[in-house]
Symmetry: C2
Subunit: 258 residues, 2 copies
């Protein structure tokens, strides 16, 4: 189930299938959607890997875009090399995607060049998307004004500071904005955007290939389910990082005149 195998397996029939599905269910998809995925230091590798796996199976043209061509370091200690810098990156994407990682998100919100890139790419993208704290950066770029959106549960209430309307769903879709909740929501997001790009049949085939039939061994994946003790424990531990995110969101809101 590696890239080349998928490519080989899908090559014969995928385009036919994409169009066959699209004809009766969805707007005609691009044959190979062009996806721009922002990457930055301190991003969560799983935020990227979930959606990237889906885009890869779709044979999307994926650009990994960073401020410079220097590899960025992720939470798990694995570096990721960009394929484009802000300077060389195309702007017209079918999907602009922003991963999370609170410290890295805050640094990006406070970085003019990064915010400018996200704004300019977001203004022309067919879909403007994020997972986890990445939506705070979309917000800082003014891309969530008047849009319903979500984020990691511990920062989603900051979105209104930048004009967003908070929802707590796992994946929130409002016109062409698709935002996912924390980290693992990237898989639910990935399948959702796959259906928008290529139809439900393709999304379901990808779901079956990656065997996404989740059965969490515990029931603690949201504050409501985990209960106040665990939730408050995490909020207490992340207090400083969340306060920094709040400052960045307020500053962004002020510069957006919200």
């Amino acid at each position: 189930m590696d890239r080349r195998e998928f490519t080989a397996a899908l090559a014969a029939s995928s385009l036919t299938n994409l169009f066959a599905t699209a004809a009766h269910a969805q707007p005609a998809p691009p044959a190979r959607p062009r996806v721009g995925m922002l990457i930055h230091s301190d991003m969560i590798m799983l935020d990227l890997t979930g959606p990237l796996t889906v885009f890869n199976i779709m044979q999307a043209g994926v650009h990994l875009i960073a401020k410079t061509m220097q590899p960025v370091m992720t939470d798990v200690g694995l570096p990721v090399a960009p394929t484009e810098s802000f300077e060389t990156s195309p702007r017209a994407f079918d999907v602009l995607f922003v991963p999370g990682g609170l410290k890295g998100t805050v640094a990006a919100m406070n970085d003019r060049e990064t915010v400018d890139f996200v704004r300019s790419a977001g203004e022309t993208a067919r879909f403007v998307t994020s997972v986890c704290t990445g939506s705070l950066l979309l917000g800082a770029a003014g891309l969530l004004r008047g849009y319903q959106a979500t984020s990691h549960w511990y920062v989603r209430d900051l979105l209104p500071l930048m004009g967003g309307i908070v929802r707590s769903d796992r994946v929130v879709e409002d016109r062409n904005r698709l935002t996912g909740g924390g980290v693992t929501a990237g898989i639910d997001f990935g399948l959702t955007i796959a259906s928008r790009l290529a139809g439900e049949e393709t999304a379901k085939r990808i779901q079956l290939l990656i065997e996404y039939d989740p059965k969490p061994p515990f029931d603690a994946g949201s504050p409501e389910r985990a209960g106040p003790a665990l939730t408050n424990d995490i909020l207490r531990r992340r207090k400083e990082a969340i306060a920094q995110a709040e400052s960045a969101a307020k500053a962004a809101g002020a510069s957006l005149k919200i």
Copy 2:
């Protein structure tokens, strides 16, 4: 929510919490479990990233082990650099983990040095584990003889060729063997092994941090749910790779005298 943030956030209280949890619920966990994760070319990045994210939050000592120190290429086009080769790797792990990726798994099953490493590391590991097609490699190393296990749905029926007893659960635990289903089962597996190493409370805290409250947009994550048309479509596309896996499993079974 990057590595350093987690480290900082957890440092003050995690060890205390681990032991506090263990005292009334689980056997005493190692303070920093030593985890050996095999990596190989054509592995599925998401197979690795799910469990690695969990181990990283636990502040486990993670070794990424390959045949040589050459970076390996993953399905999504991102290379991963090993931290150890078979030659330099320690053998005594709390957890030995093997990811999947059918083409890479088959190559590993047919490679004597890889099979020998997995066997020798598996014989001494406290937990012998895998996700996706990785269990075929455990089987080829003789580590699943008489054990219940699972694998990616499209190859799990090959396990008996190497002495395994197939189950179709998402995560199968039989004594110290823990095997997960395809790709995304790595997250369910990760939380399960976290609870075995550090107690349920720690596993639930990790689940809340990575917001694992899955809500797949479609219901097609298993052959039973996806139905025969999608299932047969994938089986037809993967026919050759599955046939190669069957040959490798038969050869391994013969050399294990099964």
